[in-house]
Symmetry: C2
Subunit: 355 residues, 2 copies
């Protein structure tokens, strides 16, 4: 069991060792470990050694010159200079927020980045400013569009954070696939089958084998199959890809760079690195924020009290499970799986740090 | 078989008869019949008599004073004065577009409206301006969130239209449920069962009976059940509801007003009418539009040429099926189901018009 502070401090030390400036190392560590706090363990310290390997492969620039290439009162195009998405993300979301202060809303499309951790973390930055926060990113191609055998899209998550008054904020944060890759990894470790509708094999046939991705299979868009609306999940994944990577000039679709350093970079990339898209909308750019908060509280209370199918299973508000885990883990600590702990110990040894 | 012009002219005459000004009647007719052109028959002239009944019930103001209540450089809050959504929609989308011309993007939340036809029509308005268009609306509560027995949300569609160069634009337009209500109506007419994952019965149990909604059942969020990601469809429907109706001050969640005039208005409504949300983003607020179009063309070509599961079933680009139907129907006309034709004949008789 580790405290949040232990994991955050350790991650920061690792980022300093690969050459990040102090401020960036701290920002990257906070972004990364927010995933462990919120229970999205696949995106937290479990990925720390992956970022280090990308740096070793020369694919991450630890001290990037992140800059605005073009802007209008409510928009910016940002080039991340191949830096850590964990740093480019918060900085770009900060640009969206400061645009929104003046223009009502702010929208930032980012190219030349890397994985930015969990989408929800960035969207939630807007909450303290009484803004709605939006964040999305494209990702390595693992997903087959409806009727495709080929992997063309990433799990391309969308997050939206909406402030409330007395109630806790609504935070939606989800992959645009039936199930995120992290869910498959859990089944792999438990040696269990996956529900049909999550994956297809390399011929495009429905499969329940969680190892199928290693054999050329693919994740399926939200909906699973055409009859259950997979074309809608494919639409969502496409929108995220285009807002994040075509609008910014990053590697889109099957040309999105892989997270794992052992896979080669795609050939003939039409743009630079991975892409993200961030938005911030000031509540009072639409109506008085007090009035909005009263209504959001009423919305949340009404949904929380909806008649349930099973009396032991209350209707949840988006973000409830993650917030509950965050509260628990802040108090009781974060337990790591043995392979993740070994991975961190390996990094400690490599860089002369103590975990 | 009717031509587009016949249906558009007839609809315009009906809107004039209920008291719409000339310009509004024409705008409403164009918006309405765009649904018949694009093959979303449930939202076209099939609904004309429904709008008339809402007017008869005093729920539609045919000559509204649509006004901006509050604005910033990139946002506006619009009150539709209980007018036709078919008119409030295009006018509000026009405000979003003119905001985007100056501020880079424009975002409009609308209250006190009624059903606005198909979401895609409004989003597509942005294409001619080299902008990305976004449109969404809340709707009468027919959908049960994950683990809820109660209907709390509408089918809450989202549309996103993205310009391309030589290729046709990408137009995603989809309900945030597994299947839209129109799909159920088709099965009802054909006396066929629905696939599991579309609906639940009044106890919240999975059902394949397309008449279940009339017995207190509900449509299911995209994903269908928890294991297949229904909580993600619930997130999407919630975001649409909040952007459209909480942000604007309309009737949200279970308080969204019904489309059918025989159902009473909800009690204790927290806001006015139905809500919509529109967005327009200038491509060149991010990067030169020529460069974007080259990349969108490459995106579209690459996805269109993805290896298929079945060689007779090519991978489609969002909007392909609707565009194909639009081309066909512009040329060969629009055939109406007998009950829809009878409905229009009834309106012709009522208002002394010829169909």
């Amino acid at each position: 069991m580790y405290t949040y502070d232990q994991l955050e401090t350790f991650s920061k030390q690792v980022f300093l060792k690969i050459g990040c400036p102090e401020e960036d190392a701290e920002m990257a560590a906070k972004t990364l470990v927010s995933a462990d706090l919120r229970g999205i363990d696949s995106h937290g310290v479990a990925r720390l050694s992956g970022y280090v390997r990308l740096w070793e492969a020369g694919r991450i620039n630890p001290d990037p010159n992140i800059k605005i290439i073009h802007e209008t009162p409510s928009t910016a195009l940002v080039d991340g200079d191949a830096g850590l998405g964990l740093v480019i993300g918060p900085k770009s979301m900060g640009i969206a927020i400061s645009k929104a202060k003046k223009a009502g809303t702010g929208w930032v499309s980012v190219r030349n980045s890397n994985h930015f951790g969990i989408a929800g973390y960035h969207a939630m930055k807007a909450l303290a400013e009484d803004m709605i926060g939006i964040s999305m990113t494209n990702a390595s191609p693992l997903v087959a569009p409806t009727w495709s055998k080929e992997r063309m899209l990433g799990t391309n998550p969308i997050a939206v954070a909406i402030p409330a008054g007395e109630e806790t904020p609504l935070v939606a944060d989800f992959a645009t696939t039936t199930a995120a890759n992290g869910k498959l990894e859990i089944l792999q470790r438990q040696n269990k089958k996956a529900p049909y509708g999550w994956i297809q094999d390399k011929e495009g046939k429905p499969s329940d084998d969680p190892f199928e991705l290693k054999n050329g299979g693919a994740l399926l868009p939200l909906g699973g199959d055409r009859e259950h609306g997979s074309h809608k999940g494919y639409c969502l994944g496409s929108i995220v890809d285009i807002f994040s990577a075509v609008l910014s000039g990053a590697g889109y679709g099957p040309w999105a760079p892989p997270f794992v350093s052992f896979l080669p970079m795609p050939e003939d990339m039409p743009g630079k690195g991975l892409g993200h898209f961030f938005g911030a909308m000031r509540i009072d750019a639409f109506q008085p924020k007090e009035q909005f908060k009263v209504n959001m509280d009423r919305w949340i209370k009404r949904f929380r009290n909806a008649t349930t199918v099973n009396e032991n299973q209350p209707v949840l508000i988006p973000g409830d499970p993650e917030r509950t885990l965050e509260e628990e883990r802040k108090k009781s600590g974060i337990s790591l799986l043995k392979p993740v702990e070994d991975d961190l110990k390996g990094l400690a040894l490599k860089f002369g740090l103590s975990l």
